[in-house]
Symmetry: C2
Subunit: 348 residues, 2 copies
């Protein structure tokens, strides 16, 4: 049988299309285009064959760029992981509403594009700019009945970061429509709602932008019954997914490889520790990390002599000292779940 036929994304919604990556079975450090997770907020937009990107607002010279302009500018290539802010939402207790992602709202690969710095060389930037606003071609009706386009902003410092790019290639091929092509923002280290697809407009503003995807969704609301103490979703939390074995699977006595991936938007992964049945934490072997903003694969050799039920926990620590909590930080909309990952295994 052909192995290529064996991996599929998990369909979570068809309208709009939402699909999960089969993360437990991915071996490559680069997610193939057809297995990359999909999270749309609206139906797919209709694009003209000749796509344009307008830059305006607090610039000296508003401009409209066409796709061919980008291919003539200086480009850079970056390995970047994207994780949906709702990844693992289904694990929150109490449960929260929204897409019931398991572990697969995360994928990574190599993006080629141009920096915002490069673009702004043509338009200039006024000194009063606070934020850069990115509007996608996608729009539609939200669950509450309101109509909106998908629009998000970045602080000017993040927008001008030398690794924030407007991508037009993924893994060496033109960025496909379903990936957000022809032009998509890629914001390393932030949750993926920041990486706006189907870029249509970029405008620079002198005060904080507000909009449903900026100041209503993608906000942490830590209280159950009100919106006090809210703060925006930005950087990816330090996190781990045990890929193999699968949760609640049955194995025999002997040696088993526990494998997983860990990542953080704040820094490099410096340690992953594993604990069997809540005994001491033992360091796993970190695979040599690839360059860029990617997850770190790790493995741990587990020798098990006796039949019975086992818990296996894994937690990562990054170079800033951030580590995973035993219990995730609960919030109304279910963002940023990053509790220590735990699986249960029966040895038969």
């Amino acid at each position: 049988m052909n192995d290529k036929n064996r991996l599929f994304r998990t369909t979570r919604s068809t309208d709009p299309e939402v699909q999960e990556s089969p993360i437990h079975f991915l071996k490559s450090l680069s997610t193939s285009e057809n297995l990359f997770f999909i999270r749309n907020h609206f139906p797919y937009p209709t694009l003209n064959s000749k796509i344009s990107l307008r830059i305006y607002g607090e610039v000296y010279k508003p401009l409209v760029f066409h796709f061919e302009h980008f291919k003539q500018m200086k480009s850079k290539s970056l390995k970047v992981m994207l994780e949906c802010a709702g990844n693992k939402r289904s694990k929150f207790e109490p449960r929260v509403y929204g897409e019931q992602w398991e572990n697969g709202a995360i994928s990574q690969g190599t993006w080629r594009g141009i920096t915002l710095n490069e673009l702004f060389k043509y338009t200039g930037i006024k000194s009063n700019v606070q934020e850069v606003v990115f509007e996608g071609y996608d729009f539609g009706e939200r669950p509450d009945g309101k109509h909106a386009s998908f629009i998000r902003s970045l602080p000017i410092s993040k927008a001008l970061h030398s690794d924030t790019i407007i991508a037009y290639e993924y893994n060496g091929s033109p960025l496909s429509f379903k990936r957000g092509g022809p032009l998509r923002l890629i914001v390393p280290q932030w949750y993926a709602m920041a990486s706006v697809k189907w870029l249509k407009n970029i405008y620079l503003v002198e005060k904080p932008f507000s909009g449903p995807f900026q100041t209503d969704d993608y906000v942490y609301y830590p209280n159950k019954t009100n919106k006090d103490n809210a703060f925006p979703v930005t950087t990816v939390n330090v996190n781990t997914t045990i890929q193999q074995p699968l949760n609640f699977s049955k194995l025999g006595v002997g040696e088993h490889e526990i494998k997983g991936i860990s990542w953080s938007g704040k820094g490099k992964i410096v340690e992953v520790a594993v604990s069997i049945n809540d005994s001491e934490w033992i360091s796993a072997d970190l695979k040599k990390n690839s360059q860029g903003y990617t997850w770190t694969p790790w493995s741990y050799k587990w020798k098990v002599k006796h039949k019975g039920h086992y818990s296996i926990r894994a937690k990562a620590t990054d170079s800033t000292g951030s580590t995973q909590p035993f219990r995730a930080y609960w919030n109304q909309k279910g963002y940023g779940y990053n509790a220590i990952d735990t699986i249960y295994i029966n040895i038969e």
Copy 2:
């Protein structure tokens, strides 16, 4: 965008291959071949190009049939649903080990094949026969380290039922290898472990067959710590899956169609009732049922005026009076889950 690209099976395991059908998004009463769930116990077997099926044991004339013989015999066509005995296993509380199926270990379509009755005309049957044993070409190592082939038996009465067939076509095409072709047993009304794939041998025995897939797996063990009061998994329980809306989704005020499917191995579905926030049970509209052993689609128009959290429950009753329990019958290996289906919706 091409709609054909939007539905995928969910990969639950790659070795052996196990995949779930996207049951929440299926609209057709006939599951297309590429969306039919897959539950293998072992790696795919290697088959000769010239497949044969041997019939022996308590028969008057043991025979070997080749595939072309089947095409010359009188065939029948039947619409049959297959449901894995472990469908919905992930919902058991306390959790149980094994494949963590959600709702998609169920699919259906039209099978063409010949009855066992027809086959046994050629071999005869001795009067002392109690069971008919079906062996597939698939074999391998079980989690406990023991090696086995996939072998299951049927009581002679079920084997001789006029709708128990050896199928060689699915939805009008030759039965594909991944579906168990070229020859697969189809046992309507029983959980799908009975519908042995890649048929190799059929032998008739004068006493009950025992084997790991007959008397160890596919047995209900209702006690947590021992194997007392065990009984075999056979007929499909009356059951319901709410297809739309999805659990924990967000909707607006207004009218929503609640859609689902109900089925039973014991009889026809005669009623499906829906309860909102545990108020009175109201009958849903049953769609005209298709012939054969298939699920019954139903729908219910839900008018909701107020924002807030809602529970929606659905339960089916079949023509024998069997209905779904509030809490599923817990058993060690997690078979036959059929609790009243419940989803939670937030109206925004």
